[in-house]
């Protein structure tokens, strides 16, 4: 549904987006991650046709955003980062305006407005003027206008910004649910959000895509992925450590706590042997008749990967 090909954006001599490509298919929720100023919003603004690209193409459901502007735009629902609204309208009037603009047939406008209000929990402020709304309500009102015409493609720039934890949870669920039938691209810098609602994620830094995969694939790339944590007793800590280091699958052993009775350690797998490490450690404990209190394989952590990748880029 969303095809982005080699997108560039230059502001004067500053390169904001430097060759970004990705696709989002129907039924996919693509998380767009990156530090502030990485080019997330600029990319989204080009995808929605607000900013013209310096180079590259964007196609929405096959329609080019520049050559076939109106067709492409009619398939998109868009929540801009600042959640802009007309302050002199009521929530309901604004949503009616959005529905008309988004080409909802005249007879279905009321139903569409009611549905959007219900989905985004706006009932208490339905008749309230926009300029009296709290930040969370403002954000949700703008979110409501993006889904009012039940679009095939949803582009959400930080959709949970300014919401309380309960509302965040609801919106994530909503995104996940809508993602089953739509193509969704949403940006965030909250990593748990990616795990909660994305089927795929892209990390972008300094205008370039630096990682692309499912949350699981990305997590596997983090340096802590596959690390085995062991807490065992029955032998002196230093003895266990020596044995662990002898294993083929071990790259290094980091001792967290050590005593005469035993140790707690984090064992890094050697390259390509991550899947053998836990079995090898368990075998070792069995051979040496150690009492195992804890043995677990760590999942990679997204925040770690995020920091590693974006830091590396900064150092370059």
């Amino acid at each position: 549904m969303i095809e982005v090909e080699n997108l560039h954006k230059h502001f004067g001599s500053k390169v904001a987006v430097d060759g970004v490509s990705f696709t989002v298919k129907k039924g996919e929720v693509l998380g767009f991650l990156g530090p502030n100023g990485a080019g997330k919003s600029t990319t989204m603004r080009m995808v929605t046709g607000f900013l013209p690209a310096t180079k590259g193409r964007v196609r929405i459901g096959g329609a080019d955003i520049e050559e076939n502007e109106i067709e492409a735009k009619s398939k998109i629902g868009y929540l801009p980062e600042a959640a802009p609204l007309y302050s002199d309208m009521t929530v309901e009037a604004f949503l009616r305006f959005a529905a008309e603009m988004r080409r909802v047939p005249a007879g279905e406008i009321q139903a569409a407005v009611d549905r959007a209000i219900e989905t985004t929990f706006l009932e208490p402020v339905r008749h309230q003027s926009v300029d009296t709304l709290s930040k969370g309500y403002r954000h949700r009102t703008c979110f409501a206008q993006s889904i009012i015409h039940d679009p095939e493609v949803l582009i959400l720039d930080e959709p949970t910004d300014g919401l309380d934890p309960n509302q965040k949870h609801e919106i994530r669920q909503l995104i996940r649910r809508m993602g089953e039938t739509k193509a969704i691209l949403f940006s965030t810098h909250i990593l748990e959000e990616v795990e909660a609602s994305c089927t795929r994620a892209i990390i972008i830094d300094r205008g370039r895509v630096v990682a692309d995969g499912t949350p699981e694939e990305l997590k596997a790339k983090a340096t802590n992925a596959g690390t085995v944590v062991l807490r065992a007793t029955g032998l002196a800590g230093s003895g266990i450590r020596a044995e662990l280091e002898k294993l083929d699958a071990t790259a290094s052993v980091e001792v967290v706590e050590s005593s005469d009775e035993g140790l707690t350690a984090r064992i890094q797998p050697a390259k390509g042997k991550a899947d053998q490490l836990s079995a090898a450690v368990f075998g070792l404990c069995k051979d040496k008749s150690l009492t195992v209190h804890e043995l677990k394989v760590e999942e990679g952590r997204l925040d770690l990967l995020f920091r590693e990748i974006t830091k590396k880029e900064t150092e370059k």
């Binding site: 607000f50 013209p52 502007e69 801009p80």
Partner: protein, 279 residues
């Protein structure tokens, strides 16, 4: 009483015709998007105090000045052009930009420009819809100045056809100034800047058409090689001569074409300004 009814008819019919043409245009000839933008914008004018404040200011100034200082009453002859209409464009230099200053600068300040331009509509839909809403505000303002016509009719027997021409000419000048404001407001997000710059440009446009300037240009042709083309340009887009012709009741095609071309050009320039600002 009969006189008032006749008078109302004389003016009500043309006014209604204009309004009917306008409504028909909106409903049948223009896309739904233009209508939606127009409706929202018009509502926004009348839910905020701005339209009412401007009405009061305009009617106050125009009526007070013509009654007390320019001698509509003392003139003895029932002619509105000299005492009334010739001053209206001067007030409009301020009033039209005050009506139009929010058109695009407000969209930029609120960030709603990003919403509008990512909705499925061509930029000209939005430009036209907003422009028409502001044009209706100015139209209402002129309609509200009707009491002066009634007064003149009460006092004497003026040529109402000429008075109507005066209103038409005044309205066309107001639309020109509004179109200029549309361009300027697309360039800045500050309404104040939009107002000041537009007023300055409208002033130049108005004065640029001064008959004296044309004469001066004739004499200067030899010497001022650098300034001459610039002055000539300003003189050629000067609004005043076109206004004067029309307001006297001379309905010239040349003047009408000038107004229509000028407004169309400004609306096109607005779309360019919006596009350039994003790139």
């Amino acid at each position: 009483m009969d006189a008032l009814i006749t008078l109302l008819l004389e003016f009500a019919i043309p006014t209604l015709v204009v309004a009917a043409v306008f409504v028909a245009l909106l409903l049948y000839a223009l896309p739904r998007e233009v209508r939606t933008i127009f409706k929202r914008e018009l509502k926004s004018y009348f839910t905020s105090p701005i339209a009412y404040v401007l009405f009061v200011v305009f009617l106050g100034i125009s009526n007070a000045l013509s009654f007390f200082f320019t001698g509509v009453l003392e003139g003895g002859e029932a002619d509105l052009f000299l005492p009334y209409f010739q001053y209206l464009p001067w007030y409009l230099i301020l009033i039209a930009p005050a009506v139009g200053m929010r058109l695009w600068s407000e969209e930029q300040r609120l960030g709603t420009l990003e919403l509008i331009l990512t909705m499925p509509l061509a930029p000209w839909h939005a430009i036209l819809g907003k422009y028409l809403a502001a044009a209706v505000v100015l139209f209402t303002m002129l309609v509200l100045s009707f009491p002066i016509v009634w007064t003149i009719n009460f006092l004497g027997e003026p040529d109402n056809g000429v008075i109507l021409a005066g209103f038409v000419a005044t309205y066309l000048v107001a639309l020109c100034f509004l179109a200029v404001t549309s361009v300027v407001s697309a360039i800045t997000r500050s309404q104040l800047v939009a107002l000041l710059v537009s007023v300055a440009i409208c002033l130049v446009l108005w004065l640029g058409g001064l008959p004296h300037l044309s004469e001066m240009l004739m004499n200067l042709k030899g010497g001022w090689l650098v300034a001459w083309p610039v002055l000539k340009l300003i003189n050629s887009v000067g609004v005043m001569p076109h206004f004067t012709e029309l307001a006297k009741g001379v309905l010239g095609l040349r003047d009408l074409v000038f107004f229509v071309t000028f407004i169309a050009f400004c609306l096109f320039a607005t779309s360019v300004a919006i596009r350039v600002k994003r790139a």
